[in-house]
Every structure is written in C-alpha cells, then in structure tokens.
C-alpha cells in the first residue's frame, strides 16, 4: 500500500518496466495488522543497521562516484577495503584568515557524525577534480593539510599531496588519519585546508582545481565536479564490498 504513495514512484526517477503490485497483493498488505508490519519493518531495519526508516529529502544528490562504485561492484570488477562506503560533501569554512589566500587555498569541513561509533575506519580518501585544460601546463602541487587547531592562528599538518600532471582527472588523497581522529569526536574536527603550490606565482589558481563552485555553474554540474570525501568503514558484520572470486591457481592452465 505504501508503494503507491512513495515519492520516488511519483517523481519517476527510475525507469521501471516491471508490473506494478497487483490489487490482490495490495489487499493482502492492507488486511495485515499495521502493528505487525511495523514490527517486521523495524526488525528488518535493525538487521540492516538502521535505527529508523530513512526519509530522504535530497533525492537527486547521488554522487556519480558512488554510482560507479556500486556498478563496479555489481559487475564484479572492483573490490573495496571495507563493507561500508560513505560519501560526504564539504561545507566551506567561513573563518577569515590572512594565511589562506582564496586564490591558492581553501578550507573545508565535513560532518561525519553519522558514522556509527562501532564502525572502524579502514580508509578515507578525498577526491578532487583537476581540469588542466583550463590552465597553463605548469606543474602544480595540491597539498592537503589537516587543521589541528584555531587557537592563536591556524595550526595544521600536511597529510597528503600530489602533483597535477594530468589533463583531466580525479586526484585521490589519503586522509584516513584525519578521519580517524574526527570520528573520536566533533571537537577534534577542524576540517581540512587545501593549498595549491606552484613554482610560478602567476599560474596558481583554484579555477582548474575544482574546489569552489563557479558562478555560472548549475547545481547538477557542481555535483559532478565538487570534492568528495569517501570513507570506508567496517561494522564487523559482513564481508568487504567485493565479490568472492575463485582462485586462479598458479597458472592459467591450472586454473582451467
């Protein structure tokens, strides 16, 4: 009965050719005791590790990378280090600071409070899109700093860095130590500082490193390009997000 009034079916987000539930099945749902159905649903949600049934608001905000991960896994092409993968978008720091020039530096925070306390962080990556076509070909370094404290100026430490030597690509930075610390409590989470370092002072710009939304960019375009924090956590209740494959043996002949 609830399926007929669900927002997804009315918005037509997915194209589905399967037949709708029959009238008889709808009648059978209705005839059941509502409290029993609620109890069954609560039990299922508990098994799935959820406290309550999610009521999502942002229907279209699925990062393309998460869909890629899901599709890669479904087709058996990828394996991941943990059984749960979460994605987080950043929100900008508004703290004014002289040592973070907006042309070459940006501070961002991530709210990771929805990661359960019992989950163990196996890995965490910050993904940033670099579009070198939009900038002169001068080697540039992207540095990720973890902000340790704001007392008496910003104290930060370098956690990872990479050189932008590709035409257009996503750079992936290891930020696991920072995420492990943030998970201990919100008071440890001061965010990250991303700095662009170049030998030529004229070319340093955040235009080709997609850290800020351009004025003429639509929400959808920004969703495709904005930085994304990916956490890999393990709740200890399942296998990593990977398919079990048969052993290939020592040689192709043996495997056959």
């Amino acid at each position: 009965a609830s399926s007929t009034s669900s927002p997804a079916s009315s918005s037509g987000r997915r194209s589905d050719t399967r037949p709708q539930p029959t009238a008889s099945s709808a009648r059978s749902y209705n005839s059941r005791d509502a409290s029993t159905i609620r109890a069954v649903e609560a039990n299922l949600l508990r098994i799935l590790g959820l406290k309550s049934r999610p009521r999502p608001v942002g229907r279209g905000d699925i990062p393309p990378y998460m869909l890629e991960l899901y599709q890669g896994h479904s087709s058996g092409q990828s394996s991941l280090p943990a059984n749960t993968v979460r994605s987080f978008h950043h929100y900008d720091h508004h703290a004014v600071s002289n040592d973070c020039d907006p042309k070459t530096c940006i501070r961002m925070s991530f709210n990771i409070t929805n990661i359960p306390e019992t989950d163990v962080v196996a890995d965490a990556k910050l993904r940033i899109l670099v579009n070198r076509r939009a900038a002169p070909r001068v080697p540039q370094r992207v540095e990720i700093h973890e902000i340790m404290s704001y007392n008496d100026g910003v104290i930060s430490r370098l956690v990872d860095s990479a050189t932008t030597d590709v035409e257009e690509s996503w750079l992936s930075f290891d930020v696991q130590p920072a995420v492990v610390k943030w998970k201990r409590g919100a008071r440890f989470n001061h965010g990250l500082e991303i700095r662009l370092v170049s030998s030529s002072p004229n070319v340093s710009s955040t235009e080709h490193v997609r850290l800020r939304r351009a004025a003429d960019q639509t929400e959808k375009q920004w969703l495709m390009e904005r930085p994304l924090l990916i956490t890999y956590t393990d709740d200890g209740r399942g296998q990593p997000v990977s398919r079990t494959k048969r052993s290939t043996g020592t040689s192709k002949k043996t495997a056959r």
Partner: protein, 128 residues
Amino acid sequence: DTKARRDRRNRKKKQRKSKRKGDRNQCRRHRLYVDFRDVGWNDWIVAPEGYNAYYCDGECNFPLANHQNSTNHAIVQTLVNSVNPRAVPKACCVPTELSSISMLYLDEWDKVVLKNYQDMVVEACGCR
C-alpha cells in the same frame, strides 16, 4: 491375462506419477524476487530496485538424496521419522548457502551509503 496386464500397467503408471510428484515436492530452491517498491522502500534505496532472494521449500523424505546437502543428524532424524513419524518430525528444508548483496541507499541523515549485506541471497537449500 488382459486384465492382469492392464492392472500391471496401471500400477506402474501410478508409481511413476507418484515419483514425479515426490520429485516436484522435494526440498529445493524456488524463485523469489524482492521488489523494494512492494514495501515502499524505493524512496531511500537507490540501487538495486530489487533482487533475487530465492527461498527454500519442499519435503525432506526418506531416503535423502546427496544433492539435498544433508547433515548426518538430518539423515538419522529422517530415518527415525520414516520408522515412527510420531516420534520425530522430518528434517527441515532450509538455506545451506547464502550470499551477500550490495545496496546503495540514503541513510537517516541523507548521506549516500554503499553497504554490503551478508546472507541476503539463498544460493543452495538442503535438509537439516
């Protein structure tokens, strides 16, 4: 002679029919597609839209065949049941091998989660 031949033929026909029926009712895996729309969960589960979960159903009759993945205990229980059905019930037809599925969904805080759930798909059934 004609009557005896006819009786023999009928008896064999009956036996074949009953064997076929027995095979059909044997413990095995059946198709079951779980569509998340049916439970109204398609508003928070992004992918998959549903999945083949399968279920186990059927009889565990004496003697248990090899493909029924029986345990020694199930064989003994079935044997005792065949001698005295009142003493003990037949062995149960249950999943003996399960596999996992991955789900992409939005959690309570609207965050996108990709999670692997164990024991969601019946791969094999057996008498236990």
